[in-house]
Subunit: 383 residues, 2 copies
């Protein structure tokens, strides 16, 4: 994978880079909209292009259950199935196995679990999740990891980290034995675990680096720990990870989490927050998030965010969007999701520009100050 | 209202016309997408322009309850509130009072009812529904009518028809006493009632014509009677209505209902079917409707309708849309609604072209034959 570090911001660990895939070049820092089941909820593919999405996420666990690998093969992979021409990253499904599935049994060489949809039994091994991702045809595949809860304790975290590292070694071997199915390259990222313990994070990171992956994700954060702990772990881990590989902080986060993590050397982000919170009537603005459904917004005949170029902000008022939510209209979900993704994508684009101008620290401070100044304050980490 | 009869098809009552409003000219026959609460469900305004929508419907009853007339005044009318630049027709709310509201009491000069949302009491009079429509600023306003159920019997239908005619007379007077609020003209249509009885339909039509309206709607059909009865009533009524005024068949209907009614001299249609059925995974094709959610469509890597130019058909397969519905994704509702509206708009556009070419009868026969030939057959009237 060609990763080009274009600029490191003076006085900060923030960095701007490009990541080349056969479906296009990704400019980092970047936010990746989440399209779990092969669709970013309530947003059309053409709208994702329109707001500058460069890469989207899909989920191995969900796609393996529905539509399943046979159908994905029949379709010629996910890009063709969902008609998405840009890069796709697939999560390994590890997180979903440990958060969604009904029953699971972790063994040395994999995990057996019951589908959250119909209770059917499935088995994920490091090899199997790569096979599924070969079938999906994602540009970036994630290896299988175990993702323990925030307060699992040191001993559990240590054993879990060991297991994840063993799985990573198995995955590394399997990557060499298998090949892409659709004529485009597929890269693989390792996932650093280790919970809130620096020694475990270091051990995990160094173990993965010894195996050698195209990029490194930091997993097991934003799972309930305080934001400060997340920042400390991120900062600690990016000091260990190689400069010449992309770094992806999984499942993060709020706009504040994102700018703080860019400051700590992260390149890539994904989070359901812009779409999920959008569907729950929370819209993001530079002055903080608003619960647009509230009656007061019925009387505001201004855009959600007047600096935003998205279709929602260019054409509709807070009053109209508020009424859409109050009358439970689907267009409300569409406009709020679209705007929130546009907001996140603008955020990472602005961060990138500030990095090039060596003004990232002051840009970040100004963003944070304004964001916290007004509006319904977000909690400091995602719920 | 400038209504120009452009062409009457040889050997048929089908006709092509234009209807001029201050928000643009409408080419008939035309289907009007239903945007009850100031949004066509799951479809963006720009998408309505894209598929050739020329006029949309909104509903007086719903808009009066939410967001209410105060807010509509504050917004400067519905066009501005929802940012829709083309014409809007508003139903009077009569149908909703008689189908949705909890409790209603019909009196000589109006109807008192309880909101289906919060049980609050409201009163609609012929004057009040026009006042509300002035506040909405619709290009075409409908007068208040009582809409009895299909099997109400002759006596009820007669008394109801008399009441509706009295209300129309009150409305006619009120129209002269009030004026548009936003600088564009507002036209008013009378509504022919009379249930399934020819003498009552004739009495209603002639009574309204004596009062003189900009156009005439046929109401109280598609409420449960057999399609043949609906066609007979339509045919009978259009023979009475003046040639030089638009005719609107309210709440109709299936694609077959629409072509059969165009053949009987109708110019305008509205129906929730394309959007409501779309949200329930029914998509229209020239070979009849499909329940796209069915497993068989998961394996069809062709568009819903290969002759359709809509975004859904130009970019996605039946397989993908089927999977969206099977995984309960909002994008499924969006694509099915968009396609179905595009299908209906193409239908009335094709009908109009056939009228100009004097081939409407054979075009209609070919359409009906193909539509009934394959696919999941629709019932002959709407449910």
């Amino acid at each position: 994978m060609r990763f080009t570090l274009e600029h490191s911001c003076t006085g900060s660990k923030a960095r701007a880079a490009t990541l080349e895939t056969d479906h296009g070049t990704i400019e980092t820092p970047i936010f990746m909209p989440v399209g779990t089941q092969g669709t970013v909820k309530a947003v059309e593919q053409r709208e994702l292009y329109e707001i500058g999405a460069q890469i989207i996420l899909a989920n191995t666990y969900h796609l393996a259950l529905r539509p399943g690998t046979d159908l994905l093969t029949e379709a010629g992979g996910l890009h063709r199935f969902m008609n998405w021409e840009k890069p796709i990253l697939t999560d390994s499904g590890g997180y979903q196995v440990f958060s969604l599935s009904e029953l699971r049994k972790i063994e040395h060489d994999g995990v057996t679990f019951q589908s959250h949809i119909d209770g059917s039994y499935h088995r994920f091994t490091p090899e199997r999740v790569l096979d599924i991702q070969r079938t999906i045809g994602s540009d970036i595949m994630m290896i299988l990891d175990e993702c323990p809860p925030a307060a699992c304790g040191y001993d559990y975290a240590r054993r879990s980290g060991e297991l994840t590292l063993e799985w990573a070694a198995q995955a590394r071997i399997w990557l060499e034995k298998t090949a892409p199915l659709y004529g485009h390259r597929q890269f693989a990222f390792g996932i650093v675990q280790g919970n809130v313990f620096e020694d475990l994070r270091e051990r995990s990171a160094r173990g993965l680096m010894d195996l050698g992956f195209d990029g490194y994700a930091i997993g097991g954060l934003a799972v309930g720990e305080p934001a400060e702990v997340m920042y400390r772990m991120t900062d600690f881990t990016t000091d260990i990870l190689p400069q010449d590989r992309p770094r992806y902080l999984m499942g993060v986060g709020t706009p504040l989490n994102i700018v703080e993590s860019i400051a700590r050397g992260i390149d890539m982000f994904d989070c359901v927050m812009p779409t999920r919170n959008g569907r729950n009537a929370m819209v993001f603005t530079p002055d903080g998030p608003l619960t647009i459904k509230k009656e007061r917004y019925l009387h505001e005949f201004i855009p959600i965010d007047d600096a935003c170029g998205c279709y929602a902000c260019q054409h509709f008022t807070r009053a109209y969007v508020s009424n859409l939510f109050r009358t439970r209209e689907i267009l409300g979900l569409q406009l709020a999701s679209l705007h929130n993704l546009a907001f996140y994508l603008r955020l990472t684009r602005d961060a990138r520009n500030a990095i090039f101008q060596d003004t990232f620290p002051s840009w970040k401070d100004a963003f944070v100050r304004r964001y916290l100044g007004k509006g319904t304050h977000e909690s400091s980490t995602i719920e």
